[in-house]
Amino acid sequence: MLNLALLKSEIVLGALALGLLAADLLLPEGRKRALYGLALLACGISLFLTGSALLPAPGVFGAGVPLPLPTGGGPAAALGAGVGTLWSVDPFSLFLKMVVLGSTVLALLLTMDDSSIPDSEAGSFSCLLLLSAVGMMLLVSATDLLLIFVSLELVSIASFILVGYERRNPKSNEGSLKYFIFGAFSSAVMAYGISLFYGATGATSLVAAKPQGAMALMGLLFILVGFGFKAAIAPMHFWVPDAYEGAPTPVTAYLSVAPKLAAMGALARLLTALVPAGSMDLTLLLSLLCGLTMTWGNLVALFQRNIKRLLAYSSIAQAGYIMMGIVTGDAMGLQGILIYSFVYVAMNIGAFALAVALAADRSDALDPYDLDSFDGLSSRSLPAALAMTLFLLSLAGIPPLAGFIGKFYLIGSAVGTAHYGLAIVAVLNSVVSVYYYMSVCYRMFFTAPRKGARVPRFGAGIYAAAALALAVTLFFGVFPHRLAVWAQFSAKFLP
């Protein structure tokens, strides 16, 4: 069954993204900022189409209509869920699509106020951003290695360009080139893995595959390398710091959340579909990678002096926490992946939003993203300093903020499935991470402001992004019930 209609939100978003390019030609110079508005509108439409399928989940909004778990066409498809030839639109993927779209919205809001992207290029920039979002949305729905590969490439190619968007900034070029070389290499490895997998099982579909034997295992490992690259799992993370530092900051904020979460979601689907069927135990390998990812990310983040690099390494560690849910693979772990993804978007992009706002004042400085931009922020703007503190504490997993709820689920699932070693590594990493997150608080609250530092100004876009992120971080930390129920409903795959 083709069921193309299931992908309506991706199709609409893709079409609107290309429409942006056309609109770019029509709009006169100087009015191009309007394109950001159009891009936001496109995300809004897609968000509505995605959300309308998921939101009737029972217990999320009031009593709600209990949604029967759809198993194909028919009335269920009218709700927007079902299985197509290469894709499966189920609550799990719908949830992650909303997370991807949410982070796209936040990234667009940041872009509106970031000086590194000239207004004249608003059209092509937003188009690329939306296209990579389409790629991620397809990725989390894909049930076939071919579609996985194609959508990963769509994400990657758009991201390569986005990272290199500051043409005159050598760091941006360097980051883009590194990203591209690593990316192309990992794509090749992944394609090779897929071919091995095909050779072993005679199919590329995840649904009915029964991978057995050494060749299938090799194929699976190579595919894993491809995902590891996208999700920046150690030791496949080397491109991250340079790409993140060089990229325009809204792109960094975007790349540090959306592709990671989409890749994690797809990986979760891949492993749940293949590993039990194939009687292969990858748990040990995955938990080693997971522990390595969080430890490496946190240890290196301790020594960073640039907020973008600091958040880059911290996002490696955060991917490690999310990966715990994949290692354990139980219901609580899958729900943990979803909850953590949702709140991670808010808290991480929130932190980036403040970094952008502070850097805007430092055109004079050699490195506007040096940590010393935060010096004495509390005396310049207490609300901004408190907001940043809350984002950082949430990233560190301190209650009662949303990050804690996600971490609680993930660590809980590790304890519940007797992965005690992994749980201990994770909590120790949380302690280590507090040190560098607090080093930013140290600058904001304990240090005197630099000479000539002003009260930071917030453009409307940054203000909206930070306020939205803060609302999510606080609200779902104090009242996590709805998020938990929503994730519980969503942590279901269709074959």
Partner: protein
């Protein structure tokens, strides 16, 4: 629906904190008023709690229970309640918070932020003692860390930043292991639950090995807070660097969270682990008592001396717990209250002299008794209370601690009594050097205590004497619970 007394006690300071945050930072009067009002109302409600508390039952009282997270994987209740162990601590917390806030009125810099963090801290401390759901308990436990980090780090002494991050990381390291313990217990219970009262009933189903491991995870978290040897090294630094009022809160309330946790969790939920650990616990208690007292004796800095005396006094609590008797538990609980009051007063008084003289060196003074008689009187009174002079509150609780521990641990208790002698020695040495002898000419125009300082110290001094003469006021509240607690142990 019943009147949500505990919620009001806990969250009125939060409302105060938010109100302070909304006020402009120049309107100091309004900030003072909002912060004091929130803290005072919370205290007044806890006085009500004192009178409304039913002393004849060991069951939880003023219980509030609402579903908070009701997903399949995680079920958490907003579940508050107090018994004879926690109710006195709640009252102590609101009292000491109000007093510490009064003592903080002298703070000049960034007063608005100070009040904000202070009130958030009060919310966290109160919540820890009232929570009956482990998830909620952990949330409140962690809430205390962040404000403390800022309070030490912004308003502290010369090494404040280092002290602040050391405090944060040290206690966080302990509490994450507590989190693992909480999760392990959660998954052992059938059906899975965070309900602390339900978890107290399942220990019959837990294996010895599990209980020992879970005991260690929890103990690690609580021992750091107590602080029990060898996890005490954060305390002198944090106490000395913290501003006066925050030292008061640290000593009077935060340390009690550890002892409270050991009694509530380690003892009640993991009896086999507790029994296994008992010989080590009593050893640690004796080390805390003797080593803490000896360290205090070696100090020339008054604040550091009081800080080390806290380690010594918490040792009495641990010793009494190791005695596993109703007498011992009452002693431990009463000692927590008394230590809060007495050491709180001592830190306030050290702050008074430091504000004037800008030194805390014991050797730098001399003959102050004639110069500042009120200060000298209050300081001597507090020292006598702290060293356990009969007639003062400290004597009763220390006596109960020894009495409770003696039947089980005769030699250890005998050694611990040495601690009392050493305590007396260092306090008397300080009184002699600071107040007696010829007046050091440097301090010829030292002013005596002002009204704000008197308002914060005198109530504590009255309590020290009152509870020493008529301890029934406090012990009555605890007795039924302690008898029932002691009955759990076979």
């Amino acid at each position: 629906m019943e009147f949500p007394l505990l919620s009001l006690i806990t969250f009125i300071p939060l409302a105060g904190a938010l109100a302070v945050l909304c006020l402009p930072k120049d309107s100091r009067r309004a900030i003072e008023a909002a912060a004091l009002a929130a803290s005072a109302v919370s205290f007044a409600l806890s006085v009500w709690l004192y009178f409304a508390f039913d002393r004849s039952t060991a069951a939880m009282q003023f219980v509030e229970r609402h579903a908070w997270i009701a997903a399949d994987a995680v079920k958490v209740d907003y579940y508050l309640g107090v018994d004879g162990l926690s109710a006195p601590l709640v009252i102590l917390t609101t009292l000491m918070s109000l007093i510490a806030l009064i003592a903080s009125l002298g703070i000049k810099e960034r007063f608005k932020e100070y009040c904000f963090w202070f009130l958030i801290l009060e919310v966290g401390m109160l919540g820890v003692f009232e929570s009956l759901d482990f998830f909620l308990f952990y949330v409140f436990w962690e809430i205390t860390l962040v404000p403390m980090y800022f309070l030490i780090g912004i308003w502290g002494g010369p090494q404040k930043e280092y002290a602040a991050i050391k405090f944060f990381l040290y206690t966080l390291a302990g509490s994450v292991f507590m989190l693992l313990g909480i999760l392990a217990l959660y998954f052992k219970a059938d059906p899975h639950t965070f309900d602390m009262l339900a978890l107290m009933k399942i220990h019959g189903t837990l294996s010895f090995r599990f209980q020992v491991l879970a005991f260690l995870a929890f103990y690690f978290g609580f021992a750091i807070k107590v602080p029990a040897f060898p996890f005490h090294t954060w305390l002198p630094l944090a106490h000395v660097e913290a501003p006066t009022a925050i030292s008061v809160i640290l000593a009077a309330v935060l340390l009690k969270m550890g002892v409270y946790g050991i009694l509530r969790v380690n003892y009640c939920m993991l009896p086999l682990g507790f029994e296994w650990f008992l010989p080590i616990l009593v050893l640690i208690a004796v080390i805390n008592i003797v080593y803490g007292a000896l360290c205090a004796m070696a100090q020339n800095d008054m604040k550091k001396m009081v800080a080390y005396s806290s380690i010594n006094h918490m040792g009495y609590c641990l010793l009494a717990i190791a005695g596993v008797s109703a007498t011992g538990f009452s002693g431990a609980a009463f000692q927590m209250i008394n230590h809060g009051i007495i050491t709180g007063a001592l830190f306030l008084l050290v702050g008074v002299v430091y504000d004037r003289a800008h030194t805390r060196d014991i050797g730098a003074f001399g003959g102050l008794a004639a110069k500042v008689p009120v200060f000298a009187g209050l300081m001597s009174l507090s020292c006598f209370a702290s060293l356990g002079l009969p007639g003062m509150a400290g004597f009763i609780s220390e006596f109960l601690c020894f009495l409770g521990a003696f039947p089980r641990w005769k030699i250890y208790t005998a050694v611990s009594v040495l601690g009392v002698i050493i305590t007396a020695a260092f306090f008397l040495r300080m009184i002699e050097k600071v107040f007696l002898g010829p007046l050091n000419k440097r301090w010829a125009d030292l002013p005596d205590m002002n009204t704000r300082e008197l308002v914060s110290v005198v109530p504590l001094a009255i309590l020290m004497v009152a509870l020493g003469i008529w301890p029934k006021w406090a012990l009555d509240m605890m007795n039924t619970t302690m008898v029932s607690l002691a009955g759990l142990f076979k």
